[in-house]
Symmetry: C2
Subunit: 288 residues, 2 copies
């Protein structure tokens, strides 16, 4: 296999993969190599552009750490994440739709009691959430884990605030009660730009794209016997609902954030400023 040219290189690489002991891996790699080569041929990629690509990917990897996942952000902003979600989460009618996972979940999210204030000092208008988790049959799902994470009123997640160190706020994992419900206090989310201080920010700028996500709260709900649901509840009337930088908005996931004048809040406390309430129902589909 010598003197390979730009036309023979693709079958040459694929034939070299013939000895893979993993048919699924080979299927993925064969398609990847074909599309990678077709891309380079389609655009007649120059060596300088190739080197820019190498440097971009290298910088993207090196931007990642325990609190930052720039490759997920790249996948999100190029629509790959939403595509993978859409292919893998065709839900039965009536089940809550899924959307992207995003780069800001952390694995060591603290457990929270019913009624807890997840905000823990995160700035923002008070928001009282009551969510019911149920099956397609409408019956409540008790003992489901409801993992919640969100940005604060400054548009920042806790992991984006170096001054917080490893302190976690505006996130928590609650467990549904016998009625399938969780109740918690947090802050109303606001729209925010994805981080633009890395390679993905450069890419968005060069693409003429804004970096904004409409305001939302993340939920990941796990219950025995049901498919795990990864989704958001968006805030109604957000100006970015039609141009989410990660293409994640579904009409069915826009919540009704009800604004209330100062007064007695759902937890019995007296709010000195306007507050919001949000009532949610999550419908899980059964595990296949």
């Amino acid at each position: 296999m010598r003197n390979i040219d730009e036309h023979t290189i693709t079958p040459a690489v694929i034939s070299r993969q013939a000895e893979s002991g993993n048919p699924r891996f080979k299927e993925i790699m064969d398609s990847l190599v074909t599309h990678l080569h077709d891309f380079a041929r389609d655009v007649n990629l120059t060596e300088a552009e190739w080197m820019q690509g190498i440097q971009f990917l290298t910088a993207t990897g090196q931007k990642c750490d325990a609190k930052r996942q720039e490759f997920i952000l790249l996948s999100d902003t190029l629509g790959l994440s939403m595509l993978v979600v859409a292919m893998n989460h065709a839900k039965p009618r009536g089940a809550t739709e899924a959307t992207v996972f995003g780069p800001f979940h952390v694995d060591d999210t603290p457990a929270a009691e019913q009624g807890a204030d997840l905000a823990q000092g995160a700035p923002g208008a008070p928001l009282f959430v009551e969510a019911r988790v149920q099956g397609l049959d409408g019956r409540p799902i008790a003992a489901a884990d409801v993992d919640v994470w969100q940005a604060d009123d400054d548009g920042l997640y806790d992991v984006q605030r170096p001054e917080l160190g490893d302190t976690r706020r505006a996130r928590g994992v609650l467990r549904t009660d016998a009625d399938g419900k969780v109740r918690f206090r947090t802050v109303a989310p606001t729209a925010y730009p994805v981080p633009t201080d890395g390679p993905v920010g450069d890419m968005l700028l060069a693409s003429g794209r804004h970096p904004w996500r409409p305001a939302h709260i993340h939920f990941m709900i796990k219950a025995r016997g049901y498919q795990t649901l990864v989704t958001h509840i968006f805030r109604d009337a957000d100006p970015y609902l039609d141009s989410d930088v990660v293409f994640g908005v579904r009409s069915s996931l826009i919540g009704d954030y009800v604004k209330h004048a100062p007064g007695t809040a759902p937890d019995g406390s007296v709010a000195q400023r306007p507050f919001y309430t949000l009532a949610l129902v999550f419908v899980l589909s059964t595990a296949s």
Copy 2:
């Protein structure tokens, strides 16, 4: 733009790129997004596979440092580098062919005098190289920079030996004399495996591929008025000439490494062990 599904996501991303101020960047990104999405759809990529891909790319970036470029190695082993070289270096008849740049060039390669011993202690059989650099018209090209780098008899580049620190050996930049010639001593190169202690090694293993490159010496030749030539001279009779892991072998680039019994070497010294000589002609095409 809400409720995007796996079919509408690709035009959605492309339409978002419409405001790019750089038409070439937009062309590249449009094609990239199309192929990336088609790849995911073709193989019905699962979320677990997507996450494996994210982790692979992240690890690849994080394996890179001043002495290691794992993304170039990935590009090389997937045939992308050779494809880009082939597309961009269609040479006129008679000009020396190009091949891949590889990940082991360093920018601070020391200058070397005519006749210098580039090996500087690198292990291997002595090799005496005389190379003539000329134009398509056969006339010598004086004052061309000839950048040479190679692995030693253990199959290692200097940058792969932590014990060497920043010491450079088995590399150097020479300048052609009035006859277009450079002469230097080095060691005969041997076949070697590309580094397999990183993500690319895992990929090769999973693909059932060996990691070997046939023995070669790298050359990058720059001369005013001529196209820069990046190429190798492979060693004849190498067992990996037909299965180079980076697909870089061209018949015209296989050198005639002549073995000699111990005795007087071309530089007048007396060799106590067998040594090799290699006579080369590099033909540069004129800059366009």
